[in-house]
C-alpha cells in the first residue's frame, strides 16, 4: 500500500490547483456548518436554560387592576402550575441632558426565585424592598445602564402618576422576557438610550402607582400537556371583573418572538448553506475522479496486472476525495470556530442572554468531521466504480479516439451552419460531457444565487426603510402623552418656532371580535386629512382614512380571516374607564410594512370611546434648523411621555445594518470562491483532457491566444445561461428564506433591486473570468514538441 500512497501524493501534486480548490469549497461548507450550527445550538441552549431557570411565562394577562388575592384563584385553576402577579407600566424618565427616555417599570414580589418571569443579577446588587433611610431602589437592564453611562448609586428621575420620583440604581439584571428589548412592535430595532427596563420591588411599584395590594398583570406557567385554551378561558373568566385588557401567549411576546425569529432563520440556513457547498464539492470531486480513472486506465490495468486488488485501487482513488475533504475539514474547523465566535459576539450584542452564548461545540465539530469524510467517501467510492470493469489486458491497448456525437444545437440548422469550426467543437465537447455541464451550470447558478442571497437583505431593509420613512410615515417626531388631552391643547406645541405640521392622533389597544374568535390589535385614530402617517394598500398606494368604518391591519385580517366588507366588533382595552364596544365595517386592509396597525378616523375613535376631540399623541413635521431646540423644549413638557425622533430611529437602524456588512462581505467572498473553483475545475479538466488536441492546434499554426479563445468558447455557452439562471434562482431562495423566518410583527418583503441583480451578475462574470484565466495559464506551458511526439 505504501507505493499507492506515494502514487497518491504524485496525483495530488499534479493536480494541486484543483485539489486545493475543492478543499477550499469543503472548508467553506464546513465552516458555515460549524459557524451556523454552533450559533443556533448555543443560542437555543442559552435561551432554554435562561427560560427554565427563571420560569418564563406561557401566558400573559393584562388587567386594569386586580387584588393580590385573585392570584390564589388563578393558581387553583387546573392546569396552572405557577402564577405571579405584578405591576408593569411604561413611565417617562427625565434625563439630565434634557432628553426623553422611557422605562418599563416592572415589579417583583419576594422571594424572587419563586415567581414567573424571574430575573438574574448581572452586576451590583439586588434592590431592597424597604431601604434604610427610605427612597426607592431599582435595577436596570445592562444595555440601558451602559448606553446612558450610569453608575451604581446614581439616581434617575421618573414620572409616575404625574409625580416625579428619584430612583436609586443599585444593580443590573436580566430576565427571560427582556432578551430583546424593544418598546413595541412599531420599533424596528432596540434603542437602548431611550428605552429600558426598570426592575423594582412590588411594594414600591404599588406605592408609585397608588395601587396598594393590587397588580395589573398576571403571568402564568402551564402544567405540561394541558388544554391551554380551556385554562386560558377559565383565567379570563376569573379576571373579567377586573378589566381584562389583553392576553397573549408566549409566542406573541415581543422579545421571545424576535429571538425565535432569529433561531428559525439560523435553523433554515444551517442545513441549506453548508449543503450547497458540500454537494457542489462532492459533484466536482466525482467528475474529477471519473476523468482521472478514465485517463489512467492503462495504469490501473498495470496495477491490476501486478496483483493489486480492485478494493485497493478503489480505496487508492477514493482516498483522493477523502483527503480533499479531510484537508478542507481541517481548515474549515478552524474558520468555523472563528465564525461561531463571531456569531456569538453578534448575538451577545443583540440579545441579552446571561448564559454563555459562545464556546466551542465539540459535538458539532465531530459531526462536521463525519460529514466531510462522508462526503469524500461518497464522492470517492461512487466515482471509483469504473475501476471494477477495467480489464488489465485490454486497458494497455491505446484508447480509440473519444467518440463524439451531434450536439443539441445541431438540430437548429440555421444556427449550426453559421458556426465556425471552433464553436462547433465547443458545443460538441459540452454535450459529450453532459454531467460535467450539469455540475458547472448548477454550480455557477448556485454561486450567483448565493451572491443575491448575500445582498438582498440590504435591499429588503432599505426598501422597508424607504417605505417606512419616506412614504408611510412622514413625521419628524412622534409624541405620546401621559394622558389623553383635548386636541386644542396642542396649541402650546404648535406655537413653538419651527413647527410645521402638527397632527393629533389617538392610539389605543383593542380587541377585534368576529364570530366567537378575537385578536388583539392597535387602533390608531387620525384625521382623514393627515399626511404624516398613512396606511397603505398592498401595492404601496395610500388608503384614505374613512369617516366611518375601519382600515384593518394585515395581521388581524389574516389571523381572523377578515375580508373587506365584513363587520367586526371592537372592544377598547384602554385601561381607563370601562371597555367600550362598537360595530365597524372593514373598508380596507392595511399592508403598511412596519408597525402594522388598524386605522379609523380620529372622530370615529372618539365616538367609540364616547368622548370628543381627545388625542393621546401627536405627529410633527419641523424645520430641520429648529429641530434641536424644539426637541429640547418638548423634553421639558412633563405631559409628554415619549418623543420618538425619526432621525434617531433611522440612525439606529443604519448602525445595526453596519454590523451586518462583515457577514455580507464574507458571504460574497464565499460565493465568488465557489464560482471560481467550479469554473476553474471544469476548465482545467477540459484542458487536461484535450492537451494533445490543443497542442496539435498549436503545431498547425494556431496562436496560443486562439487556443485560449477556443477554451473560452467552451466555457461561455455554459457560464452565460448559468449566470442568468442564477438570478431568478437567487430570488427563489430569498423567498424561501423569508418564508421560513417570517414572523408577524413585521412583514419583510422580498425586494431585490436591479442593482443587486446587476452586481450578482457582475460578480458572476468576475469569477468566470478569473476561473477561466487561471485555467488558461496552462496553455502558455503547453509543450508542442512533447505533445506531438509519437507517443500515446
Amino acid at each position: 500500500m505504501k507505493i499507492l500512497n506515494r502514487r497518491l501524493q504524485h496525483i495530488i501534486r499534479g493536480s494541486l490547483g484543483q485539489f486545493l480548490g475543492m478543499a477550499v469549497i469543503i472548508a467553506v461548507g464546513i465552516s458555515l456548518y460549524i459557524g451556523i450550527t454552533t450559533a443556533f445550538f448555543n443560542l437555543s441552549q442559552s435561551q432554554q436554560g435562561f427560560y427554565q431557570d427563571n420560569n418564563f411565562a406561557d401566558y400573559y394577562f393584562y388587567v386594569v387592576r386586580a387584588p393580590e388575592s385573585i392570584l390564589k384563584q388563578v393558581e387553583r385553576v387546573p392546569g396552572v402550575s405557577l402564577a405571579s402577579g405584578r405591576i408593569q407600566k411604561d413611565v417617562p424618565v427625565l434625563k439630565e441632558n434634557q432628553e426623553r427616555a422611557t422605562v418599563r417599570l416592572t415589579s417583583y414580589g419576594l422571594p424572587l426565585e419563586k415567581g414567573v418571569n424571574g430575573i438574574e443579577l448581572m452586576q451590583g446588587r439586588f434592590f431592597i424592598p424597604y431601604p434604610a433611610g427610605g427612597g426607592i431602589e431599582a435595577m436596570l437592564n445592562s444595555a440601558y445602564f451602559e448606553a446612558n453611562g450610569l453608575a451604581f448609586g446614581d439616581t434617575i428621575d421618573i414620572v409616575a402618576d404625574n409625580r416625579k420620583y428619584p430612583i436609586k440604581i443599585v444593580g443590573t439584571a436580566a430576565g427571560p422576557e427582556f432578551t430583546y428589548i424593544m418598546k413595541d412592535a412599531a420599533n424596528m430595532m432596540p434603542d437602548h438610550e431611550t428605552f429600558g427596563i426598570m426592575m423594582l420591588p412590588l411594594n414600591q411599584a404599588q406605592h408609585l402607582f397608588h395601587l396598594p395590594g393590587q397588580f395589573n398583570q398576571v403571568l402564568v406557567q402551564f402544567a405540561p400537556g394541558v388544554d391551554q385554551d380551556a385554562v386560558v378561558q377559565s383565567i379570563k373568566d376569573i379576571l373579567a371583573p377586573y378589566g381584562n385588557l389583553a392576553s397573549f401567549p408566549r409566542k406573541d411576546q415581543l422579545s421571545h418572538a424576535a429571538l425565535e425569529g432569529e433561531l428559525e432563520g439560523l435553523e433554515a440556513i444551517s442545513a441549506f448553506l453548508p449543503l450547497v457547498f458540500l454537494s457542489i464539492a462532492a459533484a466536482i470531486q466525482f467528475v474529477i475522479l471519473r476523468r482521472m480513472i478514465k485517463s489512467q486506465r492503462s495504469q490501473i490495468g498495470i496495477m491490476k496486472a501486478l496483483g493489486f486488488h480492485n478494493a485497493q485501487i478503489i480505496v487508492h482513488f477514493s482516498s483522493y476525495a477523502i483527503l480533499v475533504c479531510a484537508g478542507g475539514a481541517a481548515f474549515g474547523i478552524g474558520t468555523g470556530v472563528l465564525m461561531a465566535s463571531y456569531f456569538s459576539d453578534l448575538y451577545a450584542m443583540f440579545f441579552n442572554l446571561p448564559r454563555a452564548i459562545g464556546g466551542v461545540n465539540y459535538q458539532v465539530i465531530l459531526y462536521s468531521i463525519l460529514l466531510s469524510l462522508g462526503v469524500g467517501a461518497l464522492a470517492g467510492f461512487s466515482a471509483s466504480r469504473p475501476v471494477l470493469s477495467i480489464n488489465p489486458a485490454e486497458s494497455m491497448r491505446p484508447l480509440p479516439p473519444t467518440s463524439s456525437s451531434r450536439s443539441l444545437v445541431e438540430n437548429w440548422n440555421w444556427l449550426w451552419t453559421g458556426l465556425s469550426s471552433s464553436w462547433k467543437m465547443a458545443f460538441r465537447t459540452i454535450s459529450r460531457n453532459r454531467f460535467r455541464m450539469l455540475v458547472s451550470i448548477l454550480g455557477i447558478s448556485s454561486a450567483v444565487a448565493l451572491l443575491i442571497l448575500s445582498m438582498f437583505t440590504n435591499d429588503a431593509v432599505d426598501y422597508l426603510m424607504d417605505q417606512h420613512f419616506n412614504r408611510e410615515s412622514n413625521y419628524d417626531y412622534m409624541l405620546s402623552f401621559n394622558h389623553p388631552i383635548k386636541e386644542s391643547e396642542l396649541l402650546d406645541i404648535s406655537r413653538l418656532e419651527g413647527v410645521g405640521l402638527l397632527e393629533g392622533y389617538f392610539t389605543l389597544p383593542i380587541r377585534v371580535h368576529l364570530q366567537g374568535s378575537s385578536d388583539e390589535d392597535v387602533l390608531v385614530g387620525i384625521h382623514p386629512s393627515s399626511t404624516l402617517k398613512q396606511p397603505t394598500r398592498e401595492d404601496g398606494t395610500f388608503i384614505p382614512i374613512p369617516q366611518e368604518g375601519m382600515v384593518i391591519s394585515r395581521r388581524a385580517a389574516e389571523r381572523l380571516g377578515l375580508q373587506v366588507g365584513d363587520t367586526v366588533q371592537l372592544e377598547t382595552l384602554l385601561g381607563l374607564g370601562p371597555n367600550r364596544y362598537a360595530q365597524l365595517k372593514i373598508v380596507a386592509v392595511n399592508y403598511q410594512l412596519f408597525g402594522n396597525e388598524s386605522y379609523v378616523s380620529l372622530a370615529q375613535a372618539n365616538r367609540i370611546l364616547q368622548e370628543s376631540q381627545l388625542i393621546n399623541g401627536a405627529l410633527m413635521k419641523v424645520d430641520p434648523k429648529q429641530a434641536a431646540i424644539i426637541e429640547k423644549e418638548l423634553s421639558d413638557m412633563t405631559g409628554i411621555n415619549s418623543i420618538v425622533s425619526r432621525q434617531k430611529e433611522r440612525d439606529n437602524i443604519m448602525s445595526m445594518m453596519d454590523s451586518m456588512i462583515y457577514m455580507v462581505s464574507v458571504m460574497i467572498m464565499f460565493s465568488v470562491i465557489l464560482g471560481f473553483v467550479i469554473v476553474y475545475n471544469s476548465a482545467v479538466m477540459s484542458f487536461n483532457e484535450r492537451k494533445r488536441e490543443l497542442a496539435s492546434l498549436l503545431t498547425i499554426g494556431f496562436t496560443r491566444q486562439e487556443v485560449a479563445v477556443i477554451m473560452w468558447k467552451e466555457t461561455i455557452p455554459q457560464a452565460l445561461p448559468a449566470l442568468l439562471l442564477g438570478l431568478p434562482l437567487g430570488k427563489f431562495l430569498a423567498e424561501l428564506y423569508f418564508g421560513s423566518v417570517q414572523f408577524d410583527m413585521w412583514y419583510m418583503p422580498v425586494v431585490i433591486y436591479p442593482l443587486s441583480y446587476a452586481l450578482a451578475a457582475l460578480g458572476g462574470l468576475v469569477f468566470v473570468i478569473l476561473g477561466q484565466w487561471a485555467a488558461s495559464r496552462g496553455i502558455k506551458k503547453l509543450d508542442i514538441i512533447e505533445l506531438s511526439k509519437n507517443t500515446d
Binding site: P400, P401, T402, S403, S404, S405, S420, S421, S422, K424, M425, R428, T429, R432, R692, E693, A695, S696, L697, L698, T699, I700, G701, F702, T703, R704, I784, I785, S788, K789, N790, D792
Partner: protein, 236 residues
C-alpha cells in the same frame, strides 16, 4: 526536378537540458531543402530525426547555427513569427493523426482552412484524399488509414510550402501505409509541395528524391536517389 532552394540548415545544433544532463539531440548539421522534392529522413529512435523535423517545422529553435527559409532566418524568429511560419508555410502529418475528436472529418479540414487567407477548397481536398463520402464522420468512426487521410487533407488544405510527415505510416498496416505514401506522392505531383517524411522504416527511403540518414544526432549521409520507386512497389 525543380532545384530551387527552399530552406537551408547551417551547422545547426540543438541541446536539451534533461535534468542536470545536457543532451545534444542534434550536432552541427547542415542540410539544403529544395522546392518540390520528397525528402526522407531515416534513422533509429534517438538519432535526432524528430529534432531535425521540429526545427524545420518551426516548432523549436536551434541552440546554435542558422535556419534560413526563403531568405529569412528562423533561428532568431520570435514565437509569434514561428507561429505565423507554421500557419502559412507548414503542413503537419503525425503518426497518431491528432485529429480533433469533436469535429467531423470535413470540419477538421475546415478548421485548418480557416487559418490561412487563400486555402484550397475543403471539398476538393477531401475528394483528393478520397474521403468525400466520409466527411460527416467523426474520427472515432473512421479507420486509422482514413484518419491519416483526414490528417493529410488538413495539412494540404492550407496549401503549405512544406508538408512534414512524422512516421505517417507508423500506426498503420502495410497496405494502408502504402496508400498513404501514394497519397503523399500524388500531393507532391498535384501541388508541387516539398514533402519531408521522417521514419525509421528504411523501405520508405526508396520513394525519396533524396535520403538523409541520421545517426547519433548527426547527419550520417545524404543520398540522392535518381530513380525513386513508386510507393506501390515498396515492400516491408
Amino acid at each position: 526536378m525543380n532545384k530551387d532552394l527552399l530552406m537551408q540548415l547551417k551547422r545547426v545544433t540543438k541541446t536539451y537540458l534533461m535534468g542536470e544532463v545536457k543532451v545534444e539531440a542534434l550536432k552541427e548539421s547542415s542540410l539544403d531543402i529544395y522546392q518540390g522534392e520528397i525528402l526522407v529522413i531515416l534513422g533509429p529512435s534517438g538519432s535526432g530525426k524528430s529534432t531535425l523535423l521540429n526545427l524545420i517545422g518551426g516548432m523549436d529553435k536551434p541552440s546554435s547555427g542558422d535556419i534560413i527559409f526563403k531568405d529569412r532566418s528562423l533561428s532568431k524568429a520570435s514565437d509569434r513569427e514561428l507561429t505565423q511560419f507554421r500557419r502559412h508555410e507548414i503542413g503537419f502529418v503525425f503518426q497518431f493523426y491528432n485529429l480533433i475528436s469533436d469535429l467531423t472529418a470535413g470540419e477538421n479540414v475546415a478548421l485548418a482552412a480557416g487559418l490561412v487567407n487563400n486555402p484550397l477548397p475543403t471539398q476538393g481536398v477531401l475528394a483528393q484524399v478520397g474521403l468525400e463520402a466520409r466527411q460527416y464522420h467523426f474520427p472515432s468512426q473512421l479507420s486509422g488509414g482514413e484518419q491519416q487521410r483526414v490528417s493529410i487533407a488538413r495539412a494540404m488544405v492550407k496549401n503549405p510550402t512544406l508538408l512534414l510527415c512524422d512516421e505517417p505510416t507508423g500506426a498503420l498496416d502495410y497496405h494502408t501505409g502504402i496508400t498513404i505514401l501514394q497519397l503523399l506522392k500524388q500531393t507532391r505531383e498535384a501541388m508541387g509541395s516539398t514533402i519531408i517524411i521522417v521514419t525509421h522504416n528504411t523501405a520508405i527511403g526508396a520513394m525519396a528524391d533524396r535520403l538523409v540518414r541520421m545517426r547519433s544526432g548527426s547527419i550520417a549521409e545524404i543520398i540522392v536517389n535518381d530513380s525513386p520507386l513508386p510507393p506501390e512497389r515498396i515492400e516491408w
